[in-house]
Symmetry: C2
Subunit: 85 residues, 2 copies
DNA sequence: GGAGTTTACGAATGTCGTAACTATC
DNA sequence: GATAGTTACGACATTCGTAAACTCC
């Protein structure tokens, strides 16, 4: 699990759409799709339900989302602390 | 900045010695040394002072260490939350 | 000269993008 | 047939380990 994957996950969770999330992240759709799959494989749980119109968070995904945001926020505060000294 | 780098940083900070930290992390010394350098380059500050007997945290490094631990702890709690459901 | 860290360089791994495929409506 | 996600595959980048070099006692 990498910070990249966590950022990717949050983007997809927010957009509920791999295509739009990929556009926002400036990477290609398949790369993003793979990273999400890899993340799900690693945690051993589906984080999204695939619908015909996009991706919806599963209950595990919803649980993970709050943790993911906490992680990214910790990283933010770490870099901010170093920047501001 | 990656989670790997953060874990590497914490190990070196705790051991105050790249060689021992590398052994603990099961990677080679040079790989670890490079990652620490890369991390320092990315944050734009020296996190360690190089002494003749090893590495000692700089003041920026000490500041970063607490943040680094917080990040890793967030990751731990995220994976634990998924594992326990 | 010994202990420790860093640089050089080739090998292995991972990630990306384009193109093609699958599925659902 | 249009929209959305996934798989295949070759290219690019990153990371690793071994070996050699540098530095400070």
């Amino acid at each position: 699990m990498s910070l990249h994957q966590i950022r990717y996950f949050v983007a997809v969770a927010e957009e509920e759409h791999v295509g739009r999330a990929a556009e926002r992240l400036r990477i290609a759709q398949p790369a993003l799709s793979r990273q999400i799959r890899n993340l799900e494989a690693e945690v051993g749980t589906a984080l999204f339900e695939r619908t015909s119109r996009g991706m919806r968070l599963s209950s595990a995904g919803a649980l993970f989302l709050s943790h993911a945001r906490a992680i990214l926020s910790s990283v933010e505060s770490a870099t901010a602390a170093l920047r501001k000294r």
